[in-house]
Symmetry: C2
Subunit: 267 residues, 2 copies
């Protein structure tokens, strides 16, 4: 994969409630970069002004960069943390084409769900396949964004992804030394626990205590697998999709502790 | 036990950093009430002004109401939450006399610790004994403090106690309908899990993932026992005494969610 595939082009920009959202493409990968909206400068800002940590935000299976839960987390990370936040559509997700392999696996998964059969074996297998494609895309995204003056090459980087976002994020964090802290959760250990054993950065891990898809012991085993000296488990009562919203606020505070402060927006 | 035993007398008062601390005795039980320090009023405040939720703060075994960890939690609850906070010395703790039974159990416990033997069986047994004495004292404390105009009879009440504070707090919360939310943790299920099954208020429960005294499965079993529809487990890497300080901040936010806002101190 040559880096010439990955040319960053900003395609649209909006700004609301102190958050600037820039859509972009990196080659044929669509993404959004959310940033603190700078107050109107009295003069041209110096290069590197507004520099702040970057958080990579991985969406879940079947969703995409504009999914309400994704946008909501991005807005909190910008407004409350002052971070830059980026989400790119995973392979086969959002506006991106599905391969025959994608179609086949999605079909198997939907049939299992319809029949009330366990989806874990299919999700873990299929998401591992997506992760193989997504990890180099995330690394190229990081390369490109670190060339922007407001992000820069030396700033700390976080990763935040649940569900498929964890299936992609665990191998990404293991491969990518620029990632300094990560929030994971809502996933099985089967395909990622071995890789988690090589991860030593601070981790916050969220699970649902009454998850109908992921057995409690499986979620606890994945949390246990991380070699991180500093790690925190948050388990909330409720089913797979009932994670309380305050966990998104907790993630903002986790990144503020480990990446340092972002840009004060005055919002 | 007649209520005439329990006359509330304030004995000393200090104020620093926006926190007013009033020492008191309730009969022969010594305690401290921490409150938001009101700004100097232009005129006499109306009765009930500054009214805010009350958090009962239970100290751990071997400590007391002026232990740094207790005072630190109280200050955060007042400064960041705007709550009133009270801690009373548990029977046999702080300045309070020890019975022969206390002396004997403490001796057995210290010998087990010195010999590197498991302390769980002794701590759970002894703390259950202390809880029998402490629960009516806490209820009398609550009765007395609810007569103060700044607390009042109808406001929501929280309970926050780890270690022995959980051994006392679980039967207290089960017996006391005025307690609307509680933070527990760092305890074994043996003597309290049956009682926890009758508790339905929102719970935040803290454990240490690498606790050298409390087996991981035991801590998880106690969290699981609570019948609360809304409950959250926080497990942090590290040994029994290595709970991160940010868990105290989490408790403040938990009470703010469930008890409502306290008094804005402007601090």
């Amino acid at each position: 994969m040559s880096s010439s595939q990955f040319i960053l082009r900003f395609t649209a920009e909006t700004s609301a409630n102190g958050v600037r959202a820039r859509e972009f493409t990196l080659g044929d990968i669509p993404g959004i970069l959310w940033s603190p909206a700078a107050p109107a400068p009295a003069s041209a800002p110096a290069p590197g002004s507004g520099r702040a940590p970057l958080v990579l935000l991985g969406h879940g299976g079947g969703t995409h960069k504009k999914w309400p839960g994704v946008v909501g987390r991005a807005q909190r990370l910008v407004s409350d943390g002052g971070f830059h936040v980026v989400c790119v559509d995973a392979p086969g997700h959002g506006g991106r084409p599905r391969t025959e392999h994608d179609e086949r696996e999605i079909d198997v998964m939907q049939r299992a769900m319809g029949a009330g059969e366990p989806v874990g074996p299919i999700v873990t297998r299929y998401n591992a396949h997506i992760a193989e494609r997504a990890v180099p895309e995330w690394r190229a995204t990081l390369d490109a964004l670190q060339e922007l003056p407001e992000i820069g090459p030396d700033g700390p980087v976080g990763y935040f992804g649940l569900n498929m976002g964890t299936a992609i994020g665990v191998p990404l964090a293991a491969a990518e030394p620029r990632i300094a802290a990560a929030v994971f959760g809502l996933f099985w250990p089967d395909t990622v626990a071995e890789t988690a054993r090589r991860i030593t950065i601070p981790i916050e891990f969220a699970m649902q205590w009454d998850d109908q898809h992921i057995p409690r012991e499986s979620a606890l085993a994945l949390f246990d697998a991380f070699a991180s000296k500093e790690k925190t488990l948050h388990a909330n009562s409720g089913a797979h999709k009932e994670m309380p919203r305050f966990e998104a606020d907790s993630a903002v505070r986790f990144f503020a502790r480990h990446l340092g402060p972002g840009v004060a927006t005055g919002a």
